[in-house]
Amino acid sequence: MNADQRKTLAQLLPNALPESALIVPRGNLPEQLLAEIEPADTVKLLVAGQKGMGKTTELRRLVDLLLAEERFVPVFLQFGSQETITEAGLLYAMAGALYGDERAKLGADDIAPIQHWFEDEEVSTVLEEGSEGKAGLGGNLYVLEAGTRITRKRGKRVQRKRAVVKNKRDLLKHFNDLITKARKKTKKRVVFIVDDIDKVQNDSSIESTFIHAAHLIGEIDCPCVFTVPITYATSNYVRMGGLPYNELYRMPAVALFGEDGTRNEGEFQFMRAVFERRMPFNPLSAPLLDRVLEYSGGVLVDAMRLLRNISKAVILEPTLQINEALVDREFQKMVDDYRYVFDKRELWEKLHLYCETNDKSVFMTDNLMLELLHKVVIIEYREAKMWFDLHPAARRCYEQNAAAIRRLVEPK
């Protein structure tokens, strides 16, 4: 394997974090977000999309745009894999990220009130512990460690409820004061971009924070962008419930074809450009590359996987004929994966329904829509409006097994 081949395989790994040089601007989401942020001091924006659509990449582009403007201090933090989220935890993480960003020019004194807020909670608990004579930390509480890391302590339940020393409004006030200090010291506006909220394991805790305590989030005194679960994008309540979010932006798949089946050459050019940068070793001709992109359905991570497997096949067998059969062989592996994605009867029935009716509008009101989106059985696209379609691999899985599926779904 030569260096280009090795680099290609490395850069096409789904886990690989792209360097800036590999990023191809996709659409104008960062520009749209910037347009919302510029005129409004306290705008709150949500971003939602299926896995592997490039949300994080585009948000990093937003950070670069904000930095280029020289009027902003963008603070990017990835919430990452957390079990739960709370309003206090979120504010503390954001405060920590702002304090930790040198551009904010904040000192230890500036963040002290927020630290004290959490310390005071613990002090009151210790007092109670003393009066009870044994360890009795109740529930979870956030403990300050050196630096800005949050940890949680879990303790035995106590019979008595611990009196709360400070309420969240006080914390919010301290947080907003911190933002004001950063603004004064830097003469720039602070903007938070909080990624991966949608990756928090306990989704009811996300709801507690972003739905039930939305008023608190709404009162943060600077623009914020949060990535949220795909549920929020399709939620009637989020749309209608008067929550303090100005807009919810969606990160759809690349619409290589329009809803009416028309080829979008511009989108093909975008995807070709993405992989041109990632594949110093590219064994495929332009038509074969396009075939791969079609098979991916515009899902970037799936295109990466297909191209990596094809490149690997050619590296392992240099005399391999590089033709449609090779591309189809690798696509078949993706199709085979989908057999196991459909793990219950209802999903097979839905697949049958969609493939037989070929009516794209049925997805919108389907009761299993969320599960189908999570499993990337259906893919979200957006042109003038939002629409959905089956993943090409899911559709091929049906086509190859239509007779067997029909026999079971439509028993005589």
């Binding site: 790994l13 394991q201 709801e207 079971l408």
Partner: protein, 428 residues
Amino acid sequence: MNSSLNADRTLGDLLFELEDATEPKFLIAVSDDPIQTEDLQNRIVRSQQAQSKRVVNFTASTLQSNLLNHLHRVSQFGTVHAIQITDLSAEPQRLKQVFAQLNFHRDALSRLKVPLVIWVSTSALQALINVAPDFWSRRGAVYYFTTTPIEQLLLKMFSSGSHPGSTDGDRTVSQALESILSSEAKLRECLKNHKFRLREADQLISRIKNGIDCLVAACKRHKEIEIALWLWNISNLDRNLQRWLDTLEPESKNFYESLYADRNEVLVDMATHVPRLLASYSEEFDRGIQSNEIVSLASLFTEAAIGKLNEMARDLSAAAHLDLEEVAGVLGESPYEDSEDLTTSIFREAAADELEHWLTGDTKRRPKIFTPSEGEVLRALYAADGNIQALARKFHLTNSQAANISSRLEEKVRLFLGAVVLPVPKLR
């Protein structure tokens, strides 16, 4: 099961991935044969050992808790070149715990920069996809050493005794109304809880909106009268009108019984307003979500119907020089009162009389609720004593078609007579 040659080729591909031990890869190996699985795992270990590389195996029971700590501990010094996670065909609960941790720690596992090979059976693979969808989306490759025929997978799912799948298909007006009314009540309860689950609220909102869409579609099929009849029955307007009549002196009562005839006029009038009512409901419903005040479709209808009845009663009162306030007051009450079922109702009795007189030919005046063609069928059914075959012969239908028409008309007749009530929750 995969042939030996295919298995070797697949293994070769997997070994290639392990050549570069500094890249984070999630590799999934699928095998249902425990002997084959063990053999393949050992071959991997030996192959790496031959290149002075070290592979560490972990079982699911070891990783059940603190998966990340275990994997981090072995990989932190760069002396391990691959990690295999084995024995994932164990009990479902243990599987779930391991998969949940794989999902949860996927970012941290990427940073370990060591290839991870997860060995699963085909059934465990489905569990992995379900429990660890984010981990699954980051898979580098899946290596199938066992392939299960699709028929086998399908049979397993379809023979599990679950109910045949139902599609939305054509929903009747009553089903749509039942869905709307029950969802309204549940949504009110749901939103009272300040920690309500978003998914529950969304499902209920969806049901209401789907129900409204169904009714709008029914209007396009000229089912406005059916909708109005159902809402009239749901709102217990006959009962309330009867209660109002019972409060009157006999002379006034006799006078106002003539409102019965106007009751049918009101129904027909309300039917023409159903599309507008549904549009108005949709707008008010959307506004109500913001203020946590869920509007009731039945209440909107009742308000409109009572408004119309009051208007007619006012006209009658003026003509008869009766006290208007007495009339309007009772009719203005909400129909959703808890009360005993009203067994006698002048309106229902009059409806029954009117229908029978017309069916027997005593009168030529067809109740306006029924279209001319419905009237023909009803008369034919009456004459044939409900005989479906006779009906089919008369109208050149199949028995099945005749039965469907008969069933639909029967429901409409029952609605007209006030003999049908949806199981709706009481609002007061």
